[in-house]
């Protein structure tokens, strides 16, 4: 799909729609439980002082994940 990038590449303050999550097993389960599913809209709120993890806003709450987890999530910037 054109215009799809990984979540890690997103700049702070930008919004995007999740296109796909390329992971299975426990991590996939955790991400889904927290509402990270294809079609969900998110906004990158910021990064920790050492640039990792990243903080996201999703569906009315804030969550954080590490860059190597963000790699597994492809998004389409809005």
């Amino acid at each position: 799909m054109s215009g799809t990038i990984s979540l890690r590449q997103m700049q702070t303050g930008r919004k995007a729609i999740i296109v796909a999550i390329r992971t299975e097993g426990e991590l996939g389960r955790r991400l889904r439980d927290l509402g990270l599913i294809p079609g969900a809209e998110l906004e990158v709120l910021g990064r920790a002082p050492l640039q990792d993890p990243v903080a996201l806003r999703l569906n009315g709450f804030t969550l954080s994940l590490r860059n190597n987890e963000a790699d597994l999530i492809s998004v389409r910037p809005l």
Partner: protein, 746 residues
Amino acid sequence: MPMSALFSAESRPLTIALAGNPNSGKSTVFNHYTGARQHVANYPGITVEIKEGFAKTRGKERIRILDLPGAYALTAYSQDELVARRGLTLDPPDAVIGVLNAGALERHLYLAVQIMELGLPLVLALNMYDEAQTQGLEINIPRLSELLELPVFPTVARQGLGLNEALEAGALAAEASRAGKGKAPLILSYGPDLDALLEELCLILEKSAPLAGFPDAYPRRWIAVKCLENDAEILTLLQRGNPALAEEIRSKTTEAARHLKLTSGTDPESLIADYRYGFISSLLRREVLRSKEDPRQRRRFSENLDKILTHRLLGPILLLAALYGMYKITFGLGQIPTGWLENFFALLREAAAEHLPEGALKSLILSGILAGVGGVLSFVPLILIIFILISILEDSGYMARAAYMLDRIFRAFGLHGSSVMPYIISGGIAGGCAVPGVLAARTLRSPREKLGTILTLPLMVCGAKLPLFLLLTAAFFPEDATLVMLILSLLAWTTALLAAKILRLTLIRGAPTPFVMELPPYRLPTLFGVLIHSLERVWHYIKKAGTLILAISVLVWAGMTYPAPPEESAATYAVRLAVLEETCSALPEKEEETRARLRKELTQAKNELNSLTLAHSWAGRLGAGLEPLTAPLGFDWRVNIALLGGLGAKEVIVSTLGTAYSLDAADPGGSLPLQQRLKRDPGWNRATAAGLMIFVLLYSPCFATLAVLRQESGHAGWAVFSLLFNTLLAGGAAAAARSLLMYWGI
């Protein structure tokens, strides 16, 4: 009244479980219902706590309330979630009150829907309703209630709004389900492919009913869905109960998974989650949830605060300041009541010394019980303050930010951002305690990171190590006391992190656990919540002092008292003591000087006897036997005894040294404080003192910590490992430090 007692004994009270995501305000709801009438329910075999309490409805009915651990879903990802799920399934409550954050309804309904799939009667409390309103959300509650076919209430738990109504509705639902008029499980459609398969699985499960290993309460379809979701616990249960059935089901689900992958590139788990979320979002779109004009106003407060508190430069500075502030407050404020308690126990000892008859009992009470337990209890104010501060940090949402900011550093050592809390509680800020620290590590998901954390946190500067550090710095480094304490703290952190890294590279190898964590909005903690939380932890500590430490103090006392010294030398002392006392009391009133001299002689004789007893005792012999091992560290038999006693509880080290050094040639009066006696002892110098401090910092955790280590790691082997590994580490580090200091001539 006997009648009512009989009645209540016969019918067990209705049970309502509180379920909800972390940060939904569930604990506040629980505290409101049960007040202080709550305790940790004992569920055998599990380490995460389920709290239990009792509430009364308007009709004066007593209801048992269970507070399940916070869970995002019933997929059993973390230990907390597994326990929450077991609380709902193994011994199902009569009804559930689902506590939801009204401001994040979509995600919070995800858990509620899964509870409905389980077929448990559910009442929804849309909590923090006021916040949702100020965020511009409009929730049509009657509509939501109608669509889900269950009672829904807006609540504000901090102010107690709506909670009684929710409880009444919960009680009604519970009564109905007791009477066999429960609700049928919610049946969600997971799309044509999976629905057909689920029906097939249900038939297979039905065929072999009753299912071995499953309570009847499990709806068949729920089990079928869990099998499709590849749920480890359910699959294991099936396998254990009926291997042939498990095999049959597994072949069906793997086939379905393969097919799905081919046709749509997805897996059953994702598809099921998609349909669940789809159900929720279509539900909310049916005139349930409307967001007024400006949704950007929402949560702006927390986000703006985060811009400062997690700022690249300001964030870490403020974090350090917060930690330093905690340290300052704890010790600045804590000193005062600690002093009172110490004085109180000193008075108690004086009174006991005066009024109790001489003999073994007096010695037991004075040296065993009062010295041991009193020393431990004097830490209660410090612990209370530190837990209050930690509760505030936790409840306000700042602790999650600390984990977020520090994750990158902790990950470098094979740990997790969430390790910061257990580390700090254990003494990352000097003065903690490893026992609650190990327990706090329960929030860590991965067994490996959890193990890495709990095995290294006993290396921190716990409160019980402090008295010895204070004693030795005062005696040998009086000018550099602050510097020495700082070095010890830094040494603790460095050693712990390096040890964690080594462990994670060797014994507990494995990939890091994901850091997917919610950053809850900042909130002002409630006084009641903070107090309940802290008092509970302090009570645990007091219980430990009253039981374990009491037992160890008595053991240590016995070890240091028996066997008694040979009779002839004891008899010589007895005669000498009697003569001295008699002369003393026979003196005419005016002879003050002679009296003082005699008194000194008397004390010295007593001390000599004590020391003789000690040297002759089991502990003394053991300490002497260990001298060859500890010679490179410069520890003599007296230090060895103290260190052995410290295995029971580190507080014991100082009091044991006190007894062991009662005899000192340089101090014939025996009136000098221990600090001065050590300073004058030719066997002591700064290098030895530094070595001892390092040894005490790092050597084996105390028995209480070893016990929780065993419990939390699930293996006694790890406790034994911790004992040996830490002691060897301590020996090596202390010997190296001592030689270095001697070489430099410090």
